[in-house]
């Protein structure tokens, strides 16, 4: 896939969208655009790809109301901006777009907050079927890292770089670029990919030499993973045929992190095929681990309980495994962090917990 071609296609798609508005005006129709409804109730499992994608329900942004008209006006301005950016081979961040709108000559087209501009980019991604990376839009910071026996080549703006993700990097690891499609995997001596939610746990694994000991690639998710992190995980799985496991805290929010790695997120379900790794499996912390290892816990807050109950109705979590775990957690009313494993000693996680769990799962 040539980047140049992608850009061309992206630009074309955007202009087409504008042309559609034009035709609507000219035909005496109210300008509008139709998008899939981006809610939990409108995502469904696609058995072909094994990921969750948007269902049939749609919402319409229409110039029928003042709000809708403002949205469409902003859309047209954004289209113009993106088309120009692609033309000039530049890129910008989502936050820059928000500030940049202030410079547009029309006050009505200014974004009122960054959520609005982010949402606009998502809307355009969906309607034009072009990813925002191809629009040359990137998030402010991703910062997620890799550490493990992987050699890769990255196409940077300053030329190609070949990097070994264990030998050529410091303790911080290799930083995943915004568009991981610029990376080519060269050589790997990896048995599995371990995605870790928190920085503390990632540092513990590295300090204890877990990546070396088990030939594992540690991916730091940094909380809810950025698209680039999910994309590279997907590619590692698909291209190098590696098993992927996810290691998080034992609370409802962490299950969602796992969910977005494995099944795709609700907000970017249009890209699930591109980003989700349905084969990724959950290591822990499981509610059953809390019982089994007698981990130090916190009681569930009301918001935790609501989140768990909401997950029970989330189509992505409607499997026997998750229903059992979530109901158990609601039952014991407790949650535990990854770091709580330290109650059994600093090495407990690398010497006992992970080997035991990975063995159970058949990864080791």
């Amino acid at each position: 896939m040539s980047t140049k071609l992608n850009e061309e296609r992206a630009r074309e798609q955007l202009i087409d969208l504008a042309a559609e508005f034009y035709d609507q005006f000219a035909g005496g129709e109210i300008p509008h655009m139709t998008l899939p409804t981006r809610t939990k109730s409108n995502i469904e499992y696609d058995p072909d790809s094994g990921v969750w994608v948007y269902g049939d329900r749609t919402s319409t942004r229409s110039a029928n109301s003042v709000r809708g008209a403002r949205k469409l006006l902003k859309a047209v301005y954004t289209i113009e901006f993106l088309a120009d950016q692609l033309d000039q081979g530049r890129s910008s961040t989502l936050r820059e777009l928000y500030y940049l709108s202030e410079s547009w000559d029309n006050e009505e087209a200014h974004f009122s907050d960054q959520d609005e501009s982010n949402q606009m980019i998502e809307d355009l991604e969906i309607v034009s079927e072009v990813t925002r990376e191809d629009f040359h839009m990137r998030p402010e910071e991703s910062g997620a890292t890799l550490m493990g026996p992987l050699k890769l080549r990255e196409q940077t703006r300053r030329g190609e770089r070949e990097i070994h993700c264990q030998k050529d990097v410091g303790e911080g690891g290799y930083q995943i670029p915004n568009n991981p499609d610029t990376i080519e995997f060269l050589d790997a001596d990896i048995d599995f990919v371990l995605c870790v939610e928190t920085g503390g746990m990632r540092d513990r694994l590295i300090e204890n030499g877990f990546d070396e000991q088990y030939n594992c690639l540690v991916v730091h998710l940094k909380g809810q993973p950025a698209r680039a992190t999910r994309r590279i995980t997907k590619r590692l799985h698909d291209e190098l045929d590696l098993p992927v496991v996810v290691f998080c805290d034992g609370d409802p929010w962490s299950y969602r992190i796992y969910g977005s790695v494995a099944y795709g997120s609700i907000k970017s379900a249009h890209l699930s095929e591109h980003l989700a790794t349905p084969e990724a499996r959950y290591v822990g912390i499981q509610p059953s681990d809390i019982v089994e290892y007698d981990l130090p816990t916190d009681p569930l807050a009301d918001s935790d309980i609501n989140a768990l109950e909401s997950e029970l109705t989330d189509p992505r979590f409607q499997t026997d495994y998750w229903e059992e775990q979530i109901e158990l957690q609601l039952d014991i009313g407790k949650k535990a962090e990854q770091q709580s494993l330290a109650a059994n000693g600093l090495d407990f996680v690398t010497e006992t917990y992970l080997p035991e769990r990975l063995d159970q799962m058949g990864v080791l």
Binding site: I15, A63, V66, A69, L73
Partner: protein, 815 residues
């Protein structure tokens, strides 16, 4: 006083001493000391009150004569005093009446009439005369010319405060430029500090009297203030009504009884009161009988332990076996067939049977025989001997207890057990038996006595049988017994008897009040009517919206009344601060004491936010650019005081005021809602008409095309009616598209400078007007529908389109 009391014991002649100082006070004298009661408490207010009294009189006089009022008010400064002149074009006053009307307090034509009038007591104008003479020492100057007379009469008069009689200082025939009317001139100590109230009074008078022309001149005005007529329609003439039975008091009734020429109460009621015919009079009479005579308790015929036929047979002698038997058996069977029988009913029934038997057998049943038979049958029916059964003897016969048991049982529902009911019935029976001590044992009892009897029996039962009998249970028992008792057939007392007997009169009054009687007729009232309320407001206020409501007549204390309300909103009305509240009673503006008026209370407790007006705290007078007027018309408007400034708190009137206001306010609400929705639409349109062209420009720029035409899209968005013109050679086509969600019927007029031909389209119509042709269409388009209107003209034709019947906010015109 205290000093006199200290000497009480010492001087026996004190009463005589005091008597020297005691004398009659004339009414004029009284009011001289109590000016405030009539609204003359200060110079400022006195002036307003004097004008008000004179203008009220003028309006009443002209309306009564069917003349459109033309009233002139002038106030001038005369040295230290002010001179008030009020002129009208009324029918004038006859020469001998003038002094009494203006120079005698409490002289008037309206006090005794039940009819809606501005004045009521005949105090007002003479009080003004009195005030003027007291403060300036000058007589009142009256000029009056009646319609027939060819010259006017001029008087100068004062009131003799000792005797309350007019004293004519000067009188002469004079000429006057008015053909008929009355002019009064008063000089008084006053000031113009109440100028605002004076103007308010005159202006408000003009609002509620749109048929009147009023002119005001006063020193502070450069130009006279003129209020022109808003309608030629005079208020409906009112007719006087007789009092309503629910509206009289005992004193009035006694006076009426004394004055009536009727002989019977029934005649008196029908003659002297409104809404009383024969039927209603009978109802009142029965109710009166119940109160005067009491009712007779009625008894059932027991199934056992009784032999009426035998008793009657024994009581009748010398009538022959056959006739006696028939007579006795008929009485028995009739009684058995009846539910309950009272003494008077038995008398009547025995009479009938006796007459029948007489006719059949030829035997004569005289009065004595009949009396004996009644006594015998009654003795059986009401046998009462409460002796306990003693050894070997039958218990005494008691027919009263079973008779009462059924009623008590009915009244006490299932909650009381059988023993209690029985015990109570026995005690009632014993006490009822005591009623029979009047000799005939007719069991007559008034409601009060019956109630006392039940109380006593209940108290005893509570005390001895240890049960509870609450207030409600007792009342229910009394009511059940009262209902089962019979109204007696006795003749009611004649009018002459009632006249001298206060208690009987009071019984009659109670009976009148207790009887349901139709509300009084309302032709004695003259409401302004909703249309004219609105016209009056329209005339005096430059507002955007007007609404008015007139309620149906209701009654308070026997006096019918009608409440009307009107609202003006928006326009030039002041939008800061509270709304203006205008209060009127019988078409007279109430200018003072707004806070004490019950109409103000009602306005304050209405939730005005509900009707789209701002009301801080959710109660109190609302804020906003609105005028609210309330008019109460009645034969007797209840005021809080003689100065007639505030309407008293009468629940019936308050309810009606509230309903009238709410009726008008509902219209205001829907107007405001509509206005808000149009405002919103306008806002939307103005925002969109900015955004969409910009969007279209941008879209054109991005796609590198010409700017698209967005009118159709705009019209569709605004749910508008769009009209576009298309000219193709000689053919002009108007495309009418209805994008709204409801049917529209625009009236489209096209003015063309050349004669058009081939005009087509719904309801097309061409009119030639001096070389201009008016083409009119009135198409009807349902939601989403479109139509074409076409015609042909030569070149160089000019056209000019106008569209009516569609709000401008909803119209997109490209023609």
């Amino acid at each position: 006083m205290t000093s006199f009391q200290a000497e009480l014991g010492a001087d026996e002649g004190i009463a005589e001493e005091l008597a020297k100082g005691q004398r009659e006070i004339s009414i004029a004298e009284f009011f001289e000391k109590n000016k405030h009661m009539l609204g003359f408490d200060s110079g400022a207010r006195g002036l307003v009150t004097a004008v008000k009294e004179a203008v009220d009189n003028a309006l009443d006089a002209t309306e009564e004569a069917g003349i459109k009022p033309d009233i002139y008010v002038e106030i001038t400064e005369v040295g230290d005093y002010y001179r008030v002149v009020v002129e009208d074009n009324g029918p004038g006053i006859t020469k001998d009446q003038v002094p009494k009307i203006f120079g005698k307090l409490l002289y008037g034509s309206r006090f005794h009439a039940r009819e809606q009038n501005r004045g009521q007591q005949g105090i007002g104008i003479s009080a003004a005369v009195l005030y003027s003479q007291l403060t300036s020492g000058k007589p009142a100057k009256i000029t009056s010319r009646t319609q027939e007379s060819n010259q006017a009469e001029y008087f100068e008069l004062i009131i003799d405060t000792d005797t309350n009689e007019p004293e004519i200082r000067d009188s002469e025939a004079t000429t006057w430029d008015r053909t008929h009317g009355t002019r009064i001139e008063l000089e008084m100590e006053a000031n113009m500090r109440a100028r605002q109230q004076l103007h308010q009074y005159i202006k408000n008078t003009a609002v509620v009297n749109p048929h009147a022309r009023i002119e005001l001149r006063e020193p502070g005005l450069e130009e006279p203030l003129k209020f022109e007529r808003g309608t030629d329609q005079l208020p409906a003439e009112t007719s006087e009504i007789r009092p309503h039975p629910h509206g009289v008091e005992l004193g009035t009734l006694i006076k009426m009884v004394a004055a009536t020429e009727s002989y019977s109460v029934s005649g008196f009621l029908q003659e002297e009161f409104t809404r009383v015919g024969k039927k209603t009079a009978d109802k009142v009479l029965n109710s009166f009988r119940d109160r005067h005579f009491g009712r007779e308790l009625a008894w059932p015929t027991p199934a056992t332990g009784i032999d009426i036929a035998d008793a009657v047979t024994k009581a009748v002698s010398n009538k022959g076996a056959e006739a006696t038997e028939t007579f006795a058996e008929q009485i028995e069977s009739t009684l058995i067939g009846r539910d309950r029988t009272a003494y008077s009913e038995l008398e009547e029934l025995v009479d009938e049977i006796a007459d029948d038997v007489e006719a059949d057998t030829g035997r004569t049943f005289g009065a004595t025989v009949r009396e004996n038979a009644v006594a015998a049958a009654w003795g059986e029916l009401t046998a009462f001997d409460d002796d306990e059964a003693t050894n070997g003897e039958e218990p005494g016969r008691d027919h009263l207890t079973p008779g009462l048991y059924g009623l008590v049982d009915d009244a006490t529902s299932s909650r009381k057990d059988d023993e209690t009911v029985q015990a109570l019935a026995e005690r009632l029976a014993r006490r009822a038996d005591g009623l029979g001590d009047d000799g005939a044992r007719r069991f007559r009892v008034t409601h009060d006595d019956l109630s006392a009897l039940v109380e006593a029996a209940a108290d005893a039962t509570v005390e001895y049988d240890d049960v509870t009998l609450g207030e409600t249970a007792r009342e229910k028992i009394t009511d059940t017994l009262w209902t089962a008792a019979r109204t007696v057939p006795d003749e009611v007392p004649k009018i002459t008897e009632i006249e001298g007997d206060r208690d009987t009169a009071s019984e009659l009054l109670e009976a009148m009040r207790a009887t349901d009687i139709l509300a009084p007729p309302t032709d004695c009232l003259s409401p302004i009517t909703a249309d004219l309320v609105e016209a009056g407001l329209r005339k005096e206020y430059d507002a955007d919206f007007f609404a008015a409501a007139t309620r149906d007549a209701e009654v308070h204390g026997g006096d019918p009344f009608i409440v009307e309300a009107g609202i003006a909103y928006g326009g030039e009305l002041q939008s800061e601060g509270k709304i203006d509240l205008l209060r009127f009673a019988n078409r007279v503006p109430l200018v003072y004491q707004q806070g004490a008026c019950s109409s103000t209370d009602v306005v304050k407790q209405i939730g005005w936010r509900n009707y789209g007006l701002d009301q801080p705290g959710g109660s109190g007078l609302p804020n906003g650019p609105a005028v609210l007027m309330i008019h109460v018309a009645s034969t007797n408007v209840p005021f809080t005081s003689e100065s007639k400034d505030a309407i008293a708190n009468i629940p019936e009137i308050e309810d009606e005021i509230e309903l009238a206001i709410r009726e008008a306010a509902r219209e205001l609400k829907s107007y405001l809602n509509k206005r808000r929705s149009l405002e919103k639409r306008q806002q939307k349109q103005s925002v969109l008409s900015q955004i969409l062209p910009e969007m279209a420009d941008k879209v054109a720029e991005v796609t590198g095309q010409e700017r698209p035409n967005i009118d159709a899209a705009m019209g569709r968005i605004m749910n508008n009616l769009c009209i576009d013109r298309e000219v193709d050679d000689d053919t002009v086509t108007l495309h009418v598209e209805n994008y709204s969600d409801r049917a529209e019927t625009p009236e489209i007029t096209e003015i063309v400078s050349v004669e058009p031909t081939d005009v087509e389209g719904d309801g097309a119509n061409v009119v030639d007007l001096d070389g201009e042709w008016f083409i009119q269409w009135s198409p009807s388009l349902s939601a989403g529908e479109e139509t074409k209107l076409t015609y042909t003209v030569g070149d160089d034709a000019e056209f000019d389109i106008t569209v009516e019947g569609v709000e401008t906010e909803k119209l997109t015109l490209n023609a």
